[in-house]
Symmetry: C2
Subunit: 419 residues, 2 copies
C-alpha cells in the first residue's frame, strides 16, 4: 500500500507530534519513534529541544525524557547504552518520572531482542581489554571505585558500611537490620563455630570479618586491595577491640597463604574476571583442610554476557557478573563440591532502594564533595541497578561449597532457619 | 640401588605372600600388588586360586577378595572397571567383608589419580554411542531397566515405590517416612497450591504425581515412557480415586504439550543425555506461563565425566550424571532463572542403605525370579551406589527455577522449613 508524502508523516509515525509551528515530523523524531518501537513501545515520551515530541501511539506516557540539543541526540542514537547515561550525568538529558521504572522498561524491551553488535559495543570491548584483572590491573580497577572517600560511602551505606546485597527476613526490616541478617545468614550457611579460622577474600570496610569475630568467636584474616577500605577496617577493629582476632591484609586474593577452616567472599567475585576463576578455585582448595567449607556471594546473570557497557566504563572497570554455569569454573576443576545455591536478587533491589533513598537525601553534600555530574552519574547507577535486579537482568547468587571429601556437611538446611 | 633376584621377590613386593609350597611371588601377585599401590594401598587382600596372597604391607586387611582362576584375573587386570563387577556378578570373584567399604576405598583411590584411557574405556565409549537418547533409543534404554517387573521393585523400594533419593529430616526416619518427606520437600520448594497445573517429566510408578494431587490439590499430567510403570501408576490412581486429577501419559518428555504452572522432574534427567539439555529447557520454557516455576532432581557430579562404565553397560544404558555447570545448559539458553540448588548426596547414601538391606533380605525371592548372577549384579550396583554417594563421587542436586520474568518468587526459603 502506497501513501502520499503528506500522510506518511502521520500514519508511519503515529505518536509523533511536530515541533510547534511545523507540520512535518523531523528525521530525529522519526528515529526516536523507531527506537521506541524497537523497545516494544514503552509508555515513554521524548521531548526534543525544538518542542517536537515522540511517544508510542495510544499511550499516556508515564515518563518524559527531555533531550537538550541535536548533538546529544545523535550521540545517544549512535551508542545509546553508553551515551544515554553519559548525557544524563552531564545534564543534557532530563528524566521526568520514575528513573527506576524507565530503566526497567528499557531492560524488559532489550530482553525481547538480541543485543546489536554496534560500533559502541566494539568500543566497549576495547575498554574491557584495558581493564584486565592482572595483579596491577585489579589494583587500578578497585582504586577507581572504592578509594574515592570513605566519608562519601558513609553517607548512604548505613552503619554497617556493608556495600553488598542485604538479606531481608521480611519486607519491614531496615537496611541496618537486613545487613546484620545477611551476615548472620552467611555465618549460619557456613555453620561458623567459635575458634574457626576464616580467610576472607575482599572484605570491604570489614563488617563481615568483625561480625564473624565479635558474634561467632571466629579468627579472621581478611584480604583487600583497597587502601582506603583496609585503613577504615583496621580502625574499626581497634575501636571494637578485635585486633587480636581479625587481621586486615592489604593484598590480592591470589596471594592468600595459610590453612583455614572456612573461606568466605562476599561481593568480590564481580572483580575477579572469568579468566581467573580456575585460579581462584586453586587458591580456595589449597587454603582449606579436608573438612573445609566456604561461601561465595556475587552478582550473577541468567546467561553469560558482559555487564552494561556504561557500568564497566564509568562505575566498575573490569567488572563481570557470571552466570551460575560460569561460576562453576571456580569449583569443578578444583575438587570442590557445591552444596547450596540461593538466588536472592529481589533482596538486592530492596537494598539498592534503601541506598538510593539515602543517596538522594545526601545529594547536596555529595555535590559539594564532587560535582553535579558525579551526583547524576551515581543516581543513575543506583537506579539502574534496582531496575536490573527487579527485571531479572541481574541475579545475586550465594554459593556454599566444601572440599569434595568432606562428609561433615549438614544433613539439611534447617540450621539456616532456626530462630 | 640394585638388588639380588632373590631379594627382589620380597623387598619389591612387600605384602605379597607366595602360594603354599612356593618361594617366589608369581607375575599375577606382582600385578595385584602394583594395582593396590596405584589405588593408594587400601586395606584389601587378594587371594588367588593358588592360595597366593597380596596385600599392602603393614596393614591388617579389612576386606578379602578371592579370585577363582587366572582367566578372571587377566580379564580384571585388562579392564578392571567393567570386568571386576562382571566377575563378581558371575561368582568368579568373592568379597569377604563390607562390599560398600571396598568400593568406597577404590573410589577414594581413583580420585587420587587420573582415569586412564584404556582399551576398556574406548569400548565403553562405543557402548555409549549405541545408547544414544533419541526417541527410540530412550525407549530401549528405559525398557532395559524399568520394565523388568514391578513385583521385583516392590520387594525393596518400600510402600511408596519411589525409586529416587529420599529426604531424611533426621537420621531416625524410616525409608517410607523419608520418601514422603522428600515429596513434601519438593512440593514446598515449588510452593504448590490447590488448583496448580503440574506437568511431570518421568514419573516412575507415580508416587509424586499422586502425592501432589492427593495432599496438595494439584492437577498433574505425568509423562513416562516405561510401559510397566505407567500401567502400575494408572492402577494406583484408580485405587486412590485420583483419576480425575492425575493423568499418566505414556510418552516422551519431548512430546509434552499444554501450559502449566509448575514443571517437575525427579530422577529423569539422568536418562536425558547432555546433548538434549537445551531441548529440555525449550520444552520447559514453552510449557510454563510467565509465573511458572519448576524443579529438577537429579544425580550429578562435582565435575563433568561419564558414569562408571559398568553401570552404563549393565544397569543404566544411556545414563549420564551432569555436573552443576552442565545442568545449566538446560536453564541458561532458555530464559529460565535458577533460584535454589540443594545438594543432598548423603541422603541418597541413606536411601540406598535402606534399599540394600531390603534387597538382601529378599535375595532368595529375587534369585527364584531371575538367577544368581542377577542377584549379585544388583547387590553390587546398590552397594557401589552407596559408596559413590558416601565418597562424593556422586552428588544429588535439586534445582528450583522459574521463568526469567517471574517476580512472584519467595523472598526467603523459610517456607521450606516451616513445621
Amino acid at each position: 500500500m502506497s501513501a502520499s508524502p503528506e500522510s506518511e508523516t502521520i500514519s508511519d509515525f503515529p505518536g509523533a507530534v511536530p515541533a510547534p509551528g511545523r507540520t512535518r515530523i523531523s528525521i530525529e523524531g522519526r528515529l526516536l519513534r523507531r527506537l521506541l518501537a524497537d523497545l516494544g513501545d514503552p509508555p515513554v515520551e521524548f521531548v526534543l529541544w525544538s518542542g517536537e515530541r515522540a511517544a508510542p501511539p495510544g499511550t499516556a506516557p508515564a515518563i518524559r525524557i527531555r533531550i537538550a540539543d541535536r548533538g546529544t541526540l545523535l550521540r545517544v542514537l549512535g551508542d545509546p547504552q553508553v551515551q544515554f547515561p553519559d548525557a544524563y550525568s552531564a545534564g543534557r538529558i532530563e528524566v521526568e518520572g520514575d528513573l527506576v521504572q524507565l530503566i526497567a522498561l528499557i531492560y524488559r524491551g532489550m530482553e525481547a531482542e538480541d543485543v546489536k553488535h554496534s560500533f559502541g559495543s566494539r568500543v566497549a570491548r576495547w575498554f574491557r581489554r584495558n581493564q584486565r584483572n592482572t595483579l596491577a590491573g585489579s589494583r587500578r580497577n578497585i582504586h577507581h571505585h572504592y578509594d574515592i572517600g570513605n566519608e562519601f560511602y558513609a553517607m548512604w551505606l548505613g552503619d554497617t558500611m556493608a556495600y553488598t546485597c542485604a538479606y531481608y527476613p521480611n519486607l519491614a526490616a531496615t537496611l541496618e537490620q537486613a545487613q546484620v541478617a545477611k551476615m548472620d545468614h552467611v555465618c549460619r550457611k557456613l555453620q561458623l563455630q567459635p575458634g574457626d579460622n576464616v580467610v576472607e577474600a575482599g572484605c570491604g570496610w570489614g563488617s563481615l570479618a568483625l561480625h564473624m569475630a565479635g558474634r561467632y568467636g571466629a579468627r579472621v584474616r581478611a584480604y583487600n586491595i583497597s587502601r582506603e577500605q583496609v585503613a577504615y577496617a583496621r580502625e574499626r577493629a581497634r575501636q571494637q577491640r578485635l585486633e587480636d582476632r581479625v587481621e586486615f591484609i592489604q593484598d590480592d586474593y591470589r596471594n592468600i597463604t595459610g590453612h583455614y577452616d572456612v573461606f568466605a567472599s562476599v561481593g568480590m567475585l564481580e572483580h575477579v574476571g572469568r579468566e581467573n576463576y580456575p585460579e581462584l578455585g586453586r587458591v580456595i582448595r589449597r587454603s582449606l583442610g579436608s573438612a573445609g567449607r566456604g561461601l561465595i556471594h556475587s552478582i550473577g546473570r541468567n546467561h553469560p554476557g558482559p555487564l552494561h557497557p556504561w557500568i564497566t566504563r564509568r562505575i566498575f572497570p573490569g567488572a563481570y557478573a557470571p552466570s551460575l554455569g560460569e561460576m562453576m569454573q571456580i569449583f569443578e576443576p578444583s575438587g570442590l563440591s557445591v552444596l547450596d545455591v540461593e538466588n536472592i536478587r529481589l533482596h538486592y533491589a530492596l537494598t539498592l532502594r534503601h541506598w538510593l533513598d539515602r543517596f538522594r537525601a545526601a545529594e547536596d553534600r555529595v555535590r559539594r564533595m564532587f560535582d553535579e555530574t558525579f551526583v547524576r552519574m551515581w543516581r543513575l547507577y543506583l537506579a539502574g541497578s534496582i531496575a536490573g535486579f527487579e527485571t531479572g537482568t541481574l541475579q545475586l547468587f550465594q554459593v556454599v561449597f566444601s572440599t569434595r571429601e568432606n562428609n561433615q556437611i549438614a544433613l539439611t538446611r534447617q540450621h539456616q532457619y532456626a530462630t
